[in-house]
C-alpha cells in the first residue's frame, strides 16, 4: 500500500504538480479546493443557522435547493483533494491535522445527509420540519465544518 502510494507520489504528473512554477498546477488546485470549502461549508452554515432559528420568517423548505450547490462543492473538493492527497500521500497520512480534518469532513457530510433526510424529506411539497434532533444536527454540522477548516489550516504546522 505504502509502496503504491509512493509510486503515485513520485509519478511525473505528481512531480510536475509539486515543482512546476506554473500557475495552472498547484495554485489552481488550491484555489478550487478553497472554492469548494466556501460553497460547501458556507451554504451549509446558512441552512444550519435557519434550522437553529435565525431568520425565522424565511421558509425552510425552499432552502432544499441549495443542497445541489453543497454537493457540487463537496465533489469539487473530493476531486481536488484526491489530487492534492495523491501528490503527497505518505506525508499527509502521517499528519495528525490531516486525519482530524478528514474525520470532520466525513462526519460533516454524513450529518448533512441526515439533515436533508430529517428536515427536508418533504421539501418538494413545500414542507419542512424542525425538531430538537434536527437542531442538534445543525449545530453539529456547523462545528464539524468549522473544525474541518481549522484542521485544514493547521496542517502546515505538523
Amino acid at each position: 500500500m505504502m509502496g503504491w502510494l509512493q509510486s503515485v507520489e513520485n509519478s511525473p504528473w505528481s512531480i510536475w504538480l509539486k515543482e512546476s512554477p506554473s500557475i495552472w498546477g498547484y495554485p489552481t488546485l488550491l484555489f478550487f479546493h478553497t472554492l469548494g470549502i466556501a460553497f460547501s461549508a458556507g451554504p451549509s452554515v446558512a441552512v444550519d443557522l435557519r434550522i437553529l432559528g435565525v431568520a425565522r420568517r424565511l421558509p425552510l423548505a425552499p432552502l432544499d435547493a441549495f443542497f445541489k450547490v453543497i454537493w457540487m462543492a463537496v465533489a469539487l473538493n473530493a476531486a481536488s483533494g484526491a489530487v492534492l492527497f495523491a501528490s503527497d500521500a505518505t506525508a499527509k497520512l502521517a499528519n495528525p491535522a490531516y486525519l482530524v480534518k478528514m474525520t470532520c469532513v466525513l462526519i460533516a457530510v454524513a450529518v448533512t445527509v441526515m439533515i436533508r433526510r430529517r428536515v427536508f424529506r418533504d421539501a418538494a411539497e413545500g414542507v419542512a420540519s424542525v425538531d430538537a434532533a434536527s437542531r442538534y444536527l445543525a449545530l453539529a454540522s456547523m462545528i464539524l465544518w468549522f473544525g474541518a477548516i481549522t484542521a485544514g489550516r493547521l496542517m502546515a504546522y505538523f
Binding site: 451554504p43 452554515v45 446558512a46 431568520a55 420568517r57 450547490v69 465544518w145
Partner: protein, 147 residues
C-alpha cells in the same frame, strides 16, 4: 507574537471567508433565480452573519499584515494588490446595493418572483468579486515574497 496567534487567525480567516461567501452566495444565487420559492426579504436576516464573517476575515487579515508587513507591503505583490482591489470593489458593490435603493426594491421580491435585472447584475458581480478575492488570496504564496 505568540506562536498560536497566527495559526488561530488563519483558521478564523477561512471560517470568516466561508461564512461571508457562503451566506452572500446564497443571497446572490436567489437573486439570480435559484430556489425561487424563497421570498427575498427574510433572506436579508442572514446578512448580519455574513457581515460577521467579513469582520473575522478583516480582523485576521490585519493581524497577518501587521505581524509581517514586509511580506505583504514591500515589495507589493500583484496578488496582494489585486486581492485588496477586489475586496474594495466587493464592498463598493454592497454599498451601491444599499445606496441606490436596490435593497428596498429587492425586499419586495416575493416567493416565485424574479428579481429586477439591476439586482441580478449586482448579484453576479458580487459572486465574481468575492470568488476573485479568494483566487488572489490563494495566489499570495506564489507571487513575490508574500510567504
Amino acid at each position: 507574537m505568540s506562536s498560536w496567534v497566527l495559526p488561530a487567525c488563519e483558521s478564523l480567516h477561512f471560517i470568516g471567508m466561508a461564512m461571508l461567501v457562503g451566506i452572500v452566495g446564497v443571497f446572490d444565487l436567489r437573486l439570480l433565480g435559484m430556489a425561487k420559492r424563497l421570498p427575498v426579504a427574510p433572506l436579508q436576516r442572514l446578512m448580519p452573519w455574513a457581515l460577521f464573517g467579513f469582520v473575522l476575515t478583516l480582523g485576521s487579515g490585519l493581524v497577518f499584515i501587521t505581524a509581517n508587513p514586509r511580506q505583504y507591503l514591500a515589495p507589493l505583490s500583484l496578488s496582494f494588490v489585486a486581492k485588496m482591489f477586489f475586496i474594495l470593489l466587493g464592498c463598493l458593490n454592497v454599498f451601491f446595493f444599499y445606496a441606490t435603493g436596490l435593497k428596498r426594491m429587492v425586499d419586495g421580491v416575493d416567493a416565485g418572483q424574479d428579481a429586477p435585472v439591476a439586482a441580478k447584475v449586482s448579484a453576479g458581480l458580487s459572486l465574481l468579486l468575492w470568488v476573485g478575492v479568494m483566487y488572489w488570496g490563494r495566489l499570495l504564496q506564489f507571487f513575490g515574497k508574500s510567504f
